[in-house]
């Protein structure tokens, strides 16, 4: 049996979608399918894709709207120092070339106007993607728990599908705009499936882009779903140990830090405590939530921004989210630790 050749994973970031499609078709053919090409029409879309999969090379259009290529290259260099990067532009100048190389690009190329030009770019990029760096320090640990990831997705009001699997069970949890709307695990659906997936003692999970499920089987706030899952887990006999499965490439790249919930507080709108976990000073935290509500109300008086939704607090080692609504006060703090 022959082992299939490794496919290089290439991400092109360019707001010209026609150009992207041309590149995808030509470069896939020229590489004899040794390249797998993804396209992103904006920097933020590219970062979303990079969170879900590992890439060997990112090619960035310098002249993108909103966040220009130089800024984006700097961010890539900080977040993914080992990722190879190339800058491409239709308006090459010496100044721009220097700026892109200083921002972390290994290669600066001008957009071609002929098929021959495209072929030379392919050759240059193929050289770059097959070039091997000296082996260096590597090795990461996966210490992020499933409830932590769900919590982060819900707090961030994200839409995604969490694919969970181990050798005994596989399933999916659907999150739309921060709401858990559906879960399926084997034959089970709804909250039963959600509880089953959260009770697994080992296995792996991956975040996938959101697609609407065929049915919606879960309603209610994610905080209470997670609390109920924790309660069921605490009251259940311990699950048999399962041999851990090796992480996927994407997991290995993504799991450079651990995430854990450091504190949770849930109150009714008038400040009556409903639930707290590891909150050192409940009264001080409730006072902070009331102050946040007051600040938000003052801002709302000055700008027609509508109802206050939430405050996100970015800390040096984690973040916190505060919701101060008429019917509830919620504070959740998440701590991150660098795993390197």
């Amino acid at each position: 049996m022959t082992t299939p050749a490794k496919q290089h994973q290439i991400l092109f970031v360019d707001d010209e979608t026609d150009f992207l499609e041309t590149l995808r078709a030509l470069f896939t053919a020229w590489s004899k399918n040794t390249w797998h090409i993804e396209g992103a029409a904006s920097a933020d879309r590219a970062l979303e894709i990079l969170k879900t999969r590992a890439f060997d090379l990112v090619v960035v259009d310098v002249n993108m709207p909103v966040l220009d290529g130089e800024q984006f290259l700097r961010i890539l260099a900080r977040r993914y120092p080992d990722l190879k990067k190339a800058a491409i532009t239709g308006y090459a100048t010496e100044e721009r070339r220097a700026a892109c190389l200083a921002s972390g690009a290994e290669l600066f190329i001008e957009k071609p106007r002929t098929a021959e030009g495209l072929k030379s770019i392919f050759v240059m990029l193929d050289e770059l993607v097959t070039w091997k760096q000296q082996p260096g320090f590597q090795g990461m640990l996966r210490r992020v728990g499933l409830p932590d990831v769900i919590q982060m997705e819900c707090l961030g009001r994200n839409s995604s599908i969490l694919e969970v699997q181990n050798r005994q069970l596989s399933g999916r949890i659907y999150i739309e705009d921060g709401w858990i709307i559906h879960a399926v695990a084997g034959e089970a659906t709804g909250e039963a499936a959600f509880q089953k997936l959260l009770s697994l003692a080992g296995g792996g999970f991956q975040l996938q882009p959101f697609e609407p499920p065929q049915q919606r089987t879960i309603e209610g706030q994610w905080e209470f779903l997670l609390m109920e899952a924790a309660r069921v887990h605490d009251e259940s006999p311990p699950a048999p140990a399962i041999e851990p499965e090796p992480p996927s490439v994407a997991e290995t790249q993504a799991a450079t830090f651990s995430v854990r919930v450091a504190e949770t507080l849930i109150c009714s709108g008038d400040g009556t405590l409903l639930y707290q976990w590891q909150c050192a000073d409940v009264n001080a935290r409730i006072a902070l939530l009331h102050e946040i509500a007051q600040q938000a109300a003052r801002v709302g008086e000055l700008l027609p921004l509508g109802k206050f939704d939430r405050l996100e607090i970015q800390l040096s080692a984690g973040r916190a989210v505060a919701q101060a609504q008429p019917d509830r006060l919620v504070f959740v703090q998440i701590a991150t630790e660098n795993g390197n």
Binding site: P65, I75, Q295, V299, E312
Partner: protein, 121 residues
């Protein structure tokens, strides 16, 4: 003059931010309390924006009193998002954007770039 050069660099940086679709106000406060740039549209008149920035800057101090040292705060409303970030050198960034716009989706990237912007070179 060194201050002028730094201010020009910050001004250019803000001008690029202001181009993002959905950005309706952005500003940087220098450590001496002077706001060097504002960009507005009808939703965000200058007087209201000044007052909001002052309040949000004060809110950063509120968190210190509760034991937090925020790198940045994001206030999300039904129709808009406000971001306030402070650098160790005392520069304070304030961005106001329409919610679910390109500007709002890129607040983290703008902030990250602001926090690491090299003003010495």
């Amino acid at each position: 003059m060194e201050t002028d050069r730094v201010n020009d660099k910050l001004q250019q940086w803000l001008d690029r931010c202001a181009l993002a679709t959905g950005m309706f106000g952005c500003s940087i406060r220098l450590p001496d309390g002077v706001w060097i740039s504002h960009n507005f549209n009808d939703l965000c008149p200058p007087t209201a924006f000044d007052e909001i920035l002052r309040r949000l800057a004060d809110a950063l101090s509120t968190f210190s009193a509760h034991g937090f040292a925020p790198r940045w705060l994001t206030w999300t409303f039904e129709k808009g998002r406000l971001r306030v970030a402070r650098r160790p050198d005392g520069l304070l960034l304030a961005l106001a954007s329409r919610r679910d716009s390109a500007a709002a989706n890129n607040l983290d990237l703008f902030t990250e770039d602001f926090l690491t912007l090299d003003l010495k070179s």
